[in-house]
């Protein structure tokens, strides 16, 4: 008895809380985070989570939105990072120029790769993306004159931002840099969200559902897939640029296929059918690993075990699970638009 009335109450609560509320809370938490964690390490962990969130959401543009499972997404993390590093170290130390270089180089790369990749589907698409990323990895590994090879690149700056002559803000402090990343990432995620809810975004979902029918409403599916590929790559490139300046050091490991696998992992872990799910997955994965790694020697067993259990028992991802749970509670109350799309 008690539980049913409790459920009813909860379900009514769920109805009353629009999606916007959750996002507001999340943003408020993000803004207050440096004050809440009170420790430089956690501030920089949060920074890393933000960057990983952007990366996972960018991948989800392909996996969850367009139904294309890319196993080579690390290529954008890596290329974006190298582009930022090469520009700011060798040409001109500007944050904005670096980030634009990161995004633009990845847009170009995605365009080039995409032309070949989007013609394939399913596992074949996955394999071609994987093969491409491995090629780039190999190039980065061996082209020591430019990339530093296995040693990587060191001393990537965090250039000041501001208006020259008028004012400037140093990003050397953990908190400043966190807020800088927060603003950039939020803006880009907001942009991604806009795209997701635009007519274009809906076409991508339609492609995920039924690519052939999309062709038969008069839209060239390959071209739309290519655009999605480029958008995902560009967003990934920005994440790479941010990562580059965040770490101050990059190496070809960023491009290795296991890194790609990790991004897929974040995406699925959080839930690929919800917009913020991948970000949630990124946070969870980094947090769990950071925690477990520091408290046990055989931490892989724990992380692997959690992964196995999640796949077996929470197939919709963590956020996906909570959303489903919430929607089941509110069944009957809201029969309207599928907000999960």
């Amino acid at each position: 008895m008690e539980s049913t009335s409790g459920k009813k109450l909860l379900s009514r609560l769920m109805e009353r809380i629009p999606n916007r509320f959750g996002v507001t809370v999340l943003l408020a938490l993000a803004v207050l985070a440096p004050f809440l964690v009170q420790n430089d390490y956690y501030i920089q962990l949060c920074t890393e989570i933000l960057i990983a969130s952007l990366l996972a959401i960018s991948l989800n543009f392909l996996i969850g939105f367009t139904g294309l499972v890319s196993l080579g997404h690390a290529v954008y993390l890596g290329v974006g990072a190298y582009a930022f590093a090469l520009l700011t170290k060798n040409v001109y130390p500007s944050m904005w120029a670096g980030l634009i270089a990161a995004g633009a180089s990845c847009a170009l790369l995605a365009w080039f790769m995409g032309v070949f990749c989007v013609r394939l589907a399913g596992l074949y698409f996955a394999m071609l993306t994987l093969a491409f990323s491995q090629v780039v990895y190999t190039v980065a590994y061996y082209w020591r004159d430019v990339t530093g090879g296995d040693d990587g690149m060191l001393g990537i700056p965090k250039p000041e931002i501001g208006i020259p002559g008028a004012f400037s803000i140093s990003l050397e402090s953990f908190t400043n840099f966190y807020y800088f990343v927060l603003i950039i990432v939020t803006a880009l995620i907001f942009l991604a969200w806009k795209i997701a809810n635009s007519p274009f975004g809906r076409v991508l979902q339609a492609i995920r559902e039924n690519p052939e029918r999309v062709e038969f409403i008069g839209l060239p599916v390959h071209r739309y897939k290519l655009y999605a590929f480029i958008i995902a790559g560009t967003l990934g490139g920005f994440a790479g640029g941010l990562y580059s300046t965040f770490q101050g050091y990059i190496s070809p490991d960023l491009l290795y296929w296991t890194q790609s696998g990790e991004i897929v992992l974040m995406t699925i872990l959080g839930g690929m059918y919800s917009f913020l799910g991948p970000a949630f997955g990124a946070g969870m994965l980094l947090f769990i690993r950071d925690t477990v790694l520091n408290f046990m020697e055989y931490w892989r067993i724990v992380v692997g075990g959690i992964l196995v259990l999640l796949v077996l028992f929470l197939p919709g991802g963590i956020l996906g699970f909570f959303e489903e749970w919430a929607s089941r509670l509110s069944i009957g109350g809201n029969d309207g638009d599928d907000t999960r799309s």
């Binding site: 996996i63 499972v69 070949f116 394939l120 399913g122 596992l123 074949y124 394999m127 071609l128 994987l130 093969a131 491409f132 491995q134 090629v135 190999t138 190039v139 061996y142 296929w257 296991t258 696998g261 897929v264 992992l265 699925i268 055989y298 931490w299 892989r300 067993i301 992380v303 692997g304 075990g305 959690i306 992964l307 196995v308 796949v311 077996l312 197939p315």
Partner: protein, 293 residues
């Protein structure tokens, strides 16, 4: 001139030996993809388990250790694969393929640490079985007998696989399941058992690869991660589901690695991808791929 012939012959055999180990792993991987549609990332871990088990049997100070291990270890690993398939993979078949990818990734993490727990961290080295010690020498040409053994085992297992797939009932079931597992079920065949059998066969092959490689290589956690990406490339080249393709793909990769270093020593890896990319772009099903996954 005389010297050059023996050099090139040696390089050719090196490529072949390398290819045969790859073939063992890739053949299991490809059959798994063809029948179950599962990209098993833990396949490399089975390779690793095979190597660790043969290490354990090499501790027995008896000349027959290698044969005992060769016989028993793959069975142990196959049994282990059976458990993973039956309890963890089976519930996932109805869901998106991605989940099996994640699950098997989880197992690579678990198994990497599990071997550390069981076998400890010391470097491990498996001696060459006494029977295959030494070199075969003909004039200027001299080549390790054990490598020749590996080169011989590869085609033998290829024939064995061909026999299993084409001449046995189990093989018929595998081929039938690859085309239409639901129909097979409706004809009264317990398809789950066929799947488990295929998974066990794959694990058996991979661990055999680990056993054969162990005396030539080191035995260490994480060795599976190294090998899986190469075998995966072999599968892509050969075509998913085709063990013949796996054989050809493995030989191609082996040769590229052996002869690639003659041309561009540091960039030998580039040759492999230079082969893979056009194949994937022009013939996404691979050289011998026929089944649609």
């Amino acid at each position: 001139m005389e010297l050059d012939v023996s050099f090139w012959l040696t390089q050719f055999l090196n490529g072949l030996a390398n290819a045969m180990v790859l073939f063992l792993i890739a053949s299991g991987l490809t059959i798994l993809l063809g029948v179950l549609g599962v990209l098993n990332l833990a396949h490399g871990s089975f390779y690793m388990l095979g190597a660790f088990l043969i290490f354990s049997s090499s501790i027995i100070k008896n000349p027959s250790w290698f044969w005992v291990g060769l016989l028993l270890a793959p069975l142990v690993v196959a049994g282990f694969g059976t458990i993973i398939e039956a309890f963890c993979l089976r519930p996932l078949y109805g869901r998106e393929r991605l989940y099996t990818l994640l699950l098997t990734y989880g197992f690579t993490l678990i198994l990497d640490d599990l071997v550390l727990l069981i076998w400890g961290r010391d470097y491990k080295s498996v001696p060459i079985p006494a029977l295959f010690e030494g070199r075969l020498t003909i004039g200027d040409f001299s080549y390790p007998v054990y490598f020749l053994f590996i080169i011989a085992v590869g085609p033998l297992l290829g024939v064995f696989l061909w026999f299993i797939l084409n001449k046995t009932n189990f093989g018929k079931l595998i081929r039938a399941a690859a085309t239409d597992s639901e129909m097979l079920d409706a004809l009264g065949v317990n398809v789950n058992r066929v799947f488990t059998g295929v998974f066990a066969l794959g694990a058996w092959l991979a661990s055999l690869g680990g056993i054969l490689a162990a005396p030539m290589r080191s035995v260490e956690p994480g060795m599976g991660v190294e090998i899986i990406i190469e075998s995966f490339i072999v599968v892509i080249i050969g075509g998913m589901g085709s063990y013949l393709g796996a054989f050809v793909g493995a030989v191609l990769i082996g040769m590229l690695k052996a002869f690639g270093i003659e041309i561009l020593e540091n960039f030998a890896m580039i040759f492999i991808y230079a082969l893979v990319l056009p194949i994937l772009i022009l013939r996404p099903r691979g050289l011998f791929g026929e089944t649609t996954i």
